[in-house]
Amino acid sequence: MLLEIKAVRKVFGTGVVLDDLSLDVGEHQVVALIGASGSGKSTLLRCVNLLEQIDDGAIHLDGEDITDPRVDPDKVRQRIGMVFQSYNLFPHMSVLDNITLAPTRVHNKALSIAKDQAMEWLNRVGLADKSLSYPDRLSGGQQQRVAIVRALVNSPRLLLLDEVTSALDPELVGEVLTMIRELKGEGMTMVLATHEMGFARQVADKVVFLDGGRVLESGPPEQVLGEPKEPRTRQFLARIIEAGRL
């Protein structure tokens, strides 16, 4: 298993956000986390990336316990890419500088090599002409694609996507989803929190329904989204359908 989440518990104040949560992600697997707001999807991703400290349990990446306090979190994050709901590009840097920051500063690549690599990626996603633009000149969909490239140039073992299309206009969602679909084709291991049920069904190998910080139901997308066993899952999906998002 590439990622093993073992009985993880996370508490904010008096609220239990993740409660004895376990989840395995195999290499080249795409796992979609679904569930209502506050069900713990984002917190789980932030815990995997060590942006939050867990309160019990363990998380293993390639067999190594990354939640061991003796492990250097900076080294762990170098192996994990993360993309956020609100893109979080650095507004004072051009697209190219955003992308080359980590390769040059963290991975000690020569600037010229990092630039070539960045341009290659930008060409692939059709944003080469934006390389010198600042993020505020880009549409949401373009910003999010740059954010994904920024994570990918570090060749992560695992990519975490936290509701990457939730802040986008409907007509911009497609371009980001296409990019993620291509990444799956290349074998990228991904864990994504999403509200796009249709997309989860297409791209995920496994869908995990979180409720109250626990895995309530998990399995292949046809089963979890098509014939859910749990009443809570059915209820959640019914509301999603009602909102016109399936």
């Binding site: 932030r46 990336n49 942006l51 979190p73 900076d74 080294k75 994050r77 170098q78 994990i80 890419g81 993360m82 956020f84 609100s86 979080n88 590009l89 650095f90 507004p91 004072h92 920051l101 980590a102 500063r105 963290v106 991975h107 505020d136 954010a147 920024r150 994570a151 570090n154």
Partner: protein
Amino acid sequence: MTGGLHTPSTVQKERIAYRRGKAIRSVLLAAGSTAVVGVLLIVAVTGSPGWDRVKGSFFSWEIAKESFPAVLEGLWLNIRLLVVCAVLALALGLFTAVLRTLRGPVFFPVRAMATFYTYAFRGVPLIIVIYLFAFGIPGLRLQGTPGVYVLGGAALIVTYGAYLAEVFRAGIESVHPSQLAAARSLGLTYRQTMRHVVLPQAVRRVAPPLLNDTVALQKDVGLVSLAGPIDAVRAAQIATAENFNYTPYIVAAVLFVLLALPLIAVTDWVTLRAARRQNAGS
């Protein structure tokens, strides 16, 4: 923006004409009210019973010419002190602000010292700090005690460093946590995150208040004259005492305003640009 060949409709033409008329009326009104206020002020001041005496003792052309070289020479000291103190106070402020953001128990003493420093030196009046530095430190009779310029300058740097540290800290705290999360998720260390992501954004945001404090410093550098050196205000005071005439103070005031103008203009420009940038985003 592509309608280069577009001819405005009658309605639009009428609107344009109406707006133009309104704009002209506003300009005329502003000019008129300014003239009225100006005339009233002049009449009130020059018509006052004591005007002739005030004119003689504050606005004497001869005395202004006579005292000008000495005041200007004093101003040169202000300028030199300003440049050195502004640069060093900004550096000290930035350094202190960064120290105050450090997390972890190892840094507790550093953090505590930085906090104590900003509290203490924002509270103590500058004049007292100058006295303490310029008269207290030489009183220790240590070898190699620097001159009064350096000690007075140090008092200014330490006091303004405390103010500027708080401005920088406000800037650092205004950078959204999601920026930190993004930087750390890329594997950047805390230092790299501060250096490449947080500080560049923070400094840009607080540039206007930083420049504003620099304008304030420009006036306060003259206080080193309390310890002996002759700055523009002190030179004016000496000239005033020689003639029993206050004109040299007016000369010094005019010079100070002229000195401040470029800095104030830069501050306004930076503020305006920052505001535009913010509006352009999102």
